[in-house]
């Protein structure tokens, strides 16, 4: 998804990274002062965290995750005993092991020029620390009960605290995201839950598995217990890969209309970016935004079926019958995929007037397309204002006034950042 990111870090991200940095320093210095308890166990989990960090992956929407690393952190935080010997590490030691492992795992990536997303790393560290600080104080009483043969209280507390931790993580992620891409907080929370729920469940189960496994088996079994999660990770990597390729391909192929001289260079890309910004402004959730982006990128694909390019290519100036025909032809092309029905429908209705109540995405594309036809790649504020004024004149009949107002806010923000 084309994130309208400012080049630097947002204030929320900075705050998060600072907090994580302070935690790291506190954890490491405390551990250095009192010494590492159960050093073998700490090193074992630290290595697993580092390996998981090395195998991090990027989920759709540019979200960096490291499931194995997170599960190992959970496992270490939740540890009750290793082969019958009670685990007595303090919460600060858990923080230290986590941060050292994460930094070690990030180093190879840095060496080959792939810097880590600091905010994502900070979030992982904070979530793990939260769990450690909540759980370590109650670890001893839970161990006493479990050692007597009753594991259910420990299991219940683990599950409860993990659920709390995952919720906190989702809230933090949604807060960061709503600031980053300027979407409503409620929408961001739903988006994050949709993204995080399946992987979160797998990570939570594996984290508990790692903690319990150390009871009945030796530490050497640790990698084996990460195996189920590894399968999950492979599956998600494939999924994220195809999602990314899909988007790249549609973005790339939307340019054939430019190469063929049907539209101005960069038109499809600009229309899609503007459409997404408007869609976010109007509170669209991510799956809808994805359809909107595809439709916006391909809104002119019907022109390929025309005998000759329309001079200038600007569809706002072509006669409505012609524009409608292009929309129909484009929808026809997309319908041939047999899968993108929603996208085809959006493209088909992209020039319908408001009275015919086309889908919201079609209304957005219609307005964004007209705006780009009038303004193009220009960044002139007067020209933008004039174009908006013209769209407002047709507001209510041709263009949806709500869309035009959302566009005005988006354009205002964009020209502000450009100045």
């Amino acid at each position: 998804m084309a994130a309208t990111r400012s080049p630097g870090l947002d204030s929320g991200q900075l705050l998060l990274i600072c907090a994580a940095g302070m935690l790291t320093v506190a954890g490491i210095s405390h551990t250095a002062a009192v010494g590492l308890v159960d050093s073998q166990v700490a090193i074992g989990f630290g290595v697993l965290i580092a390996a998981g960090e090395l195998a991090r992956l990027t989920m759709p929407g540019n979200r960096e995750v490291a499931p194995v690393s997170t599960a190992a952190s959970l496992g270490y935080a939740l540890l009750l005993d290793v082969g019958g010997r009670e685990a007595t590490q303090s919460a600060l030691q858990v923080v230290a092991v986590m941060s050292v492992g994460m930094i070690a795992g990030a180093l190879p990536h840095i060496a080959v020029g792939r810097p880590p997303r600091l905010d994502a790393m900070a979030r992982r560290l904070l979530a793990g620390s939260l769990l450690a600080f909540a759980y370590r104080p109650v670890a001893h009483p839970l161990y006493e009960v479990a050692a007597a043969g009753d594991w259910w209280p420990a299991l219940g507390v683990m599950a409860l605290l993990i659920a709390v931790m995952l919720t906190a993580d989702v809230v933090i992620a949604a807060m960061l995201r709503s600031e980053q891409v300027r979407t409503a907080f409620g929408v961001a929370v739903r988006d994050e839950i949709r993204m995080a729920a399946p992987l979160g469940a797998a990570v939570a189960a594996s984290g508990m598995l790692l903690a319990l496994a150390s009871h009945s088996m030796d530490l050497t079994a640790l990698p084996a217990f990460a195996a189920p999660l590894l399968v999950t990770q492979v599956a998600f990597r494939k999924y994220a890969g195809i999602r990314a390729t899909y988007l790249q391909t549609v973005r790339a192929l939307s340019r054939v209309t430019e190469v063929g001289g049907y539209v101005e260079p960069g038109h499809s890309r600009r229309v899609s970016q503007l459409s997404i910004a408007i869609g976010r402004e109007l509170g669209m959730p991510e799956p809808q935004l994805l359809e909107l982006e595809y439709a916006a990128l391909m809104h002119d694909i019907g022109q390929l079926s025309l005998r000759d390019p329309i001079p200038g290519g600007a569809t706002v100036l072509t006669d409505p019958a012609q524009a409608r025909r292009i929309a129909e032809l484009g929808a026809e092309v997309i319908r041939k995929t047999g899968v993108l029905h929603g996208v085809a429908e959006i493209v088909r209705r992209q020039c319908d007037p408001v009275a015919e109540s086309p889908p919201a995405a079609s209304r957005i594309i219609k307005a964004a397309n007209a705006y780009d036809d009038l303004v193009g790649a220009s960044t002139d504020r007067d020209r933008a204002a004039a174009a908006l004024e013209r769209l407002r004149l047709d507001g209510g009949t041709e263009y949806d006034p709500m869309v035009v107002e959302a566009m005005a806010r988006v354009v205002d923000r964009l020209t502000m950042t450009r100045l």
Binding site: G84, H215, A221, P228, L253, L304, S305, K336
Partner: protein
Amino acid sequence: MRELPWPARIYFVAIIGAAVYLLAHCILAPEWTADIHWPTLLVLGLLFLVCESVPTLLNVPQAAVSVSYSAALAAVVLVGAEGAALVGLMAVLSVRPGLAVVKRLFNGAQFVICGYAAGRAFELAGGVPGLPEITDFPGILVPYGAATAAFVAINVALTAMILLLVGGLGRHQVALRGMVQFLGSYVGYATFGLLIAGLWATVESISTVLVLLPLFVARWALGHYHAEQRSYDATIAALCQAVETKDYYTRGHCTRVSAASGMIAEEIGMGAERLQAIRYAGMLHDVGKLGVPTKVLQKDGDLTEEEYAAIQLHPMRGLEIVRGIDFLDEAFAGIMHHHERVDGKGYPMGLAGAEIPEFARIIAVADAFDSMTSDRAYRKAKPIDVAVGELLKNAGTQFDPIMVSTFIKALSRDGWHPPQTTPAPSDDVVETTAKDHDDPTMPIQVVSER
């Protein structure tokens, strides 16, 4: 049952008979029924059933390895051979929709046999069924390995045999790479079985949830991955066809070049990832053609040098468009160089022989072949043997002889479906071109302007 060939029927009856005998033997053994732990058996049986109902499909369409196999192996450790046989029987009850009764019975019977054999192997190798203690590790690995080996060997043998008898095993499905993947997943699932058994002493049935939840999530993600992949393939094909609609006669060219390139690549033994990459490259190879002015393609007679240069530019244009996609670099090279000639007289760079990337040499053959076997405005489609003769004639000058002979080998086995005879366009909405830059029998003539 009736549609099965008679050797398959005999085999089927024999397997069922063996399974029934084993089950009777188990249930009637008094010393076993005395000390069986029924709740454990019940949970494992249910687990097996759940797993069996959502199989992880591998690349063999008729057979599937499912997570259920971990449950059977866990049963070997926890409740012994007889228990494993009973757990295997649950496959009969699988709620997978559309599964024929014959298949259910066969699956159940063969899992009974596999489970029992694995259990016996476990005991023979020194394992004692029951809750494993901390002190059992890592010593338990030897009998567990023996049980796994017995289970996998018998499972593969029994299943392969029935597939062979039914005649469902094709050439593609027994590729070595597939087998390695197959065995890899078997070993992986075996590990999960041990994890379940190992944790049973601590948290009993919860261990199955903890081990299998990530696997079910993985299965969910893989399902989405496959759906996205199919959707992606359909989309890329539709978009490429949209680029072609302009020229009436070349419609479908991209998909056919993609298929033919795939045939050659498969024949020379390319791995799955490269195979997919060359299919995409074949699909996208002419995407830059839209940048060639229509009047150049429609011009009758010789082209000027300038006009020819416009045609020669299309591979670069294509590359420019697709560069933002995360393909293998080889795919880009294939698109960029698909009009190079082995004798160095091609374009855009005039590479010769082995300098030309492998992908480009493959696409060149596929591209020319489809052009010759399709109708053009200025000629009818050539029969396949004429087109093959033309490829052979130009092997060594225009085409890589190895790719040509490989393609002919693949053609003679898999056959080729040339496009339907294209009726002459009726309305004037569509356009036709007077030349095809891919056609080796009609090289584009260029006149010098001086």
